[in-house]
């Protein structure tokens, strides 16, 4: 698989994981929210696997990649969430998006 395709799949899975995380914060019943925390794992693990195939593996990605990934993930997560807000979904906090994306990219050694 070429590098661009790997980056694309990495972004798609990471976005899915972050959408999931933010939707969890929107669930008003804490017991339910706790129960579904584990569900985020699958997209996260796939994203992690893709990250491990993108060079450089053990250090941050070059600045232009980083900027592109960050913009792409923020955009994709925001679009997914807006889709819900527009239909009346309550309690979604869009301001969490950049913070969650930043945190995820650090954890996955992108930054």
């Amino acid at each position: 698989m070429n590098r661009n395709r790997l980056l694309e799949l990495f972004c798609a899975n990471l976005s899915n994981a972050i959408v999931h995380q933010i939707l969890e914060t929107a669930i008003d019943v804490p017991e339910i929210s706790e129960k579904y925390v584990k569900e985020v794992k699958s997209s996260w693990e796939i994203a992690k696997n893709y990250r491990e195939k993108i060079n450089p593996v053990n250090r941050s990605l070059p600045f232009h990649d980083l900027e592109e990934i960050k913009a792409k993930v923020i955009n994709s997560v925001t679009t997914e969430l807006k889709l819900r807000i527009d239909r009346g979904y309550t309690n979604i906090n869009l301001s969490l998006v950049p913070e969650f994306v930043e945190k995820a990219l650090k954890e996955l050694s992108v930054i």
Partner: protein, 268 residues
Amino acid sequence: MNGNMELIGRISKGSKMDQVYIPKNRSGMNTGEYVIILPLGKRTEEKSIFKPYFYNIKAIEPIKMQIIEEVFSMVEREASAENIIITGSFLEQGFKFNDLDILIINEEKVNTEALKQKIEKTLGIKAHLIFLDAKTLLSGLSTDPLYSLMLSKCVSKKRITLKANRKINYKLLDIHLLKSKNLIDNFDLLSGNEKYYLILNVLAILLFIQDKNLNKELINREIEKIFSVNVNKIKENMLKKERFVKKYKEIYNKTFQLIMESIKNEQK
């Protein structure tokens, strides 16, 4: 399973001592082992009859019944449980199951990890233990399609009520559905069984919203009808990508729309 073996023998008269003859061909009760001899009448009176409740199970292999009995008695010995429910692939015909799904219903929390290890060590089968209290189970049945699906085929120690009024919790269903988006993003990466599970998830949610019955056979039939493909082909990872993904996106989006429409009903 040797610990469960019982033999019936007749006491015969010997010259110095009486004896009980048992067949040489047996599993367990090896020479030199100590055994208990009890009068047959008393033993049958004392032994409680194992009579679990079956839900949507037409037939089950006798060896699986022995395993279920062993699991029930192990759970009862190690932890207090209001009810014990066996579900999942173990109850499908044949021996292709992945693990043994055990639901322990109790008010007080049970140390499932120690119990899991004990079951796995004794039976040599991977066990997946879920601990729930009765209230969570009931609320799960009314709001979560996966609970309904899980309990649509099960064996339980005590009778369970599977009828629950469905309530649409859009946030819960949406988060469930999102899991299946993986199939669109990672079609080439997923195994046949993973694909099947993600399709099953979407269909379970769709049928749940449409207030239709939920069980694996029904969903399989629905999958075959919608995608014109045998479920075994999906599990064997033999799907034709382009045609399948196009149809899958349609069903995924339809389910998403229905979930979003339910927001309006909730707000009324």
